[in-house]
Symmetry: C2
Subunit: 278 residues, 2 copies
């Protein structure tokens, strides 16, 4: 496994490897969710590239960029076990040299849900993913469904800019009690960790009602909201029942809907999501 | 020569042609300047692709989008003569489908010179070039030096987003009297056409002074300005002596400078430029 720190090295590696490249961009502190992305990439491509880069531009000024958990040594040993071919671990200057000043702005689908709480977040995400795609030139890129809006934004960028990469969505990996795997789960103290399962409980409730034929988005929103509100440590940022492509809030669900939410458990902000129908 | 109208067709063509691809993006109404770009692309690549697309998003609301000269039949016969392999002639919906909403914003270098007179112009340019690069995936892309700021913006986008394409700058082709070739020259009536040579005269004056050892940017600006102002049909938008990479205005010229200007001759807005030093 090659560990590379410079853009030029990765570009050189890419020129030497003409077969398919599966790419998993990460912010490190890898968990089972990442492993699932990597295994999928490993199964579907001749080469697998993983990036570890805590992207400063997708964090707001009062967010947890500095505190974001990091453990490169453990990450690398895990990536080696998963037979990754190349790991790209740039520093911030490598991705954002001082004179760098180009941004990818995805409209509409970025202006909902997370955007109200993390303004500019998706500008940072779209830009760094565009830069990484430029460096790695992947055949396929793998993203988790947990970050549902991110997935929509990246698909939209790839479509709109005609990027030659297949975006692959991989189902969310969950703890035994249903909590979605996330690097930020490490922030939770034991009591908060127990409370955090409320997100999954709420999603499961929505899915059950859907299964019984409920099609009113407003009713589902209310059910989810009151279930989460019954958890004393939980504070809702948003609960959304939206069109999975446009992210527009629905009144009535036709064929399918994206249920997504952001909930703070103590000081830790968690997101989770699930698709109803197809 | 293949003439293709759809993105998917061009992508399919590209997959079948693994050798180098030289790409010349144009807005059509081709002149000797374009021919120069194409010949250079022809000499340096196995395949040559040309796009003809009058890009609506780089025109301001009161600009000449509707009036911009078009002659696809003549263009195609010329491209065939030059042994172009593939011509991409999309309509606006093909490049900007209704749901499309992703923009490439290049900072700093877009916020000078032309931007004061054509706000948003370079956002349109950067976005369409990114889209076309995504479709064509060229090895090399060819741009004229006449549009000096455009060249700087595209180089910056390619660098910042790590795009895998070599940007090649091709010297400006001029009429016998020095007027830079431009599709917009067709707007000039015979008297204006004579007046239009004042841009080249001004550039030549700057070059002569530079050759004699003049290094004060302010003095060159004044010389150029007064020469242009002596032409009754000419109105200056700007005269700039700037750093060729950052486009920051200079006081004193060290090794090199970009002299650029926008001048209206009657109702026709013309730009021209020249590099002093290296």
């Amino acid at each position: 496994m090659k560990v590379l720190y410079e853009t030029a090295e990765v570009k050189r590696w890419r020129r030497k490897h003409s077969g398919s490249v599966g790419f998993v961009p990460t912010m490190g502190y890898l968990h089972e969710g990442h492993v699932e992305l990597i295994r999928r990439a490993r199964a579907e491509n001749k080469n697998v590239a993983v990036s570890i880069f805590v992207n400063p531009t997708q964090f707001g000024p009062r967010e947890d960029f500095a505190a974001y958990p990091r453990d490169p040594e453990r990450d690398l040993s895990l990536l080696k076990q998963e037979k990754v071919d190349v790991v790209f671990m740039p520093d911030a200057e490598e991705i954002y040299p001082p004179q760098s000043n180009t941004w990818v702005e995805v409209g509409s689908v970025t202006e909902r849900l997370e955007d109200a709480f993390r303004p500019g977040h998706f500008r940072g995400v779209a830009t760094v993913v565009a830069k990484l795609f430029g460096i790695v030139e992947p055949t396929r890129a793998y993203f988790g469904q947990k970050d549902a809006q991110q997935l929509v934004v990246i698909r939209k960028m790839v479509d709109d800019l005609n990027m030659n990469v297949e975006v692959v969505a991989v189902p969310t990996v969950r703890e035994l009690d249903g909590l979605a795997m996330s690097s930020r789960n490490v922030y939770l103290d034991p009591e908060e960790r127990e409370s955090a399962v409320v997100l999954y409980k709420a999603l499961s409730r929505a899915q059950k009602l859907w299964g019984k034929g409920e099609r009113s988005a407003e009713l589902l929103r209310k059910e989810i909201t009151s279930l989460i509100e019954s958890e004393p440590k939980a504070t809702i940022d948003y609960v959304s029942i939206a069109d999975p492509e446009t992210l527009e809030e629905l009144e009535q669900i036709e064929d399918h809907a994206l249920v997504s939410m952001a909930v703070r458990i103590g000081k830790t902000r968690l997101i989770d999501s699930m698709t109803l129908g197809k």
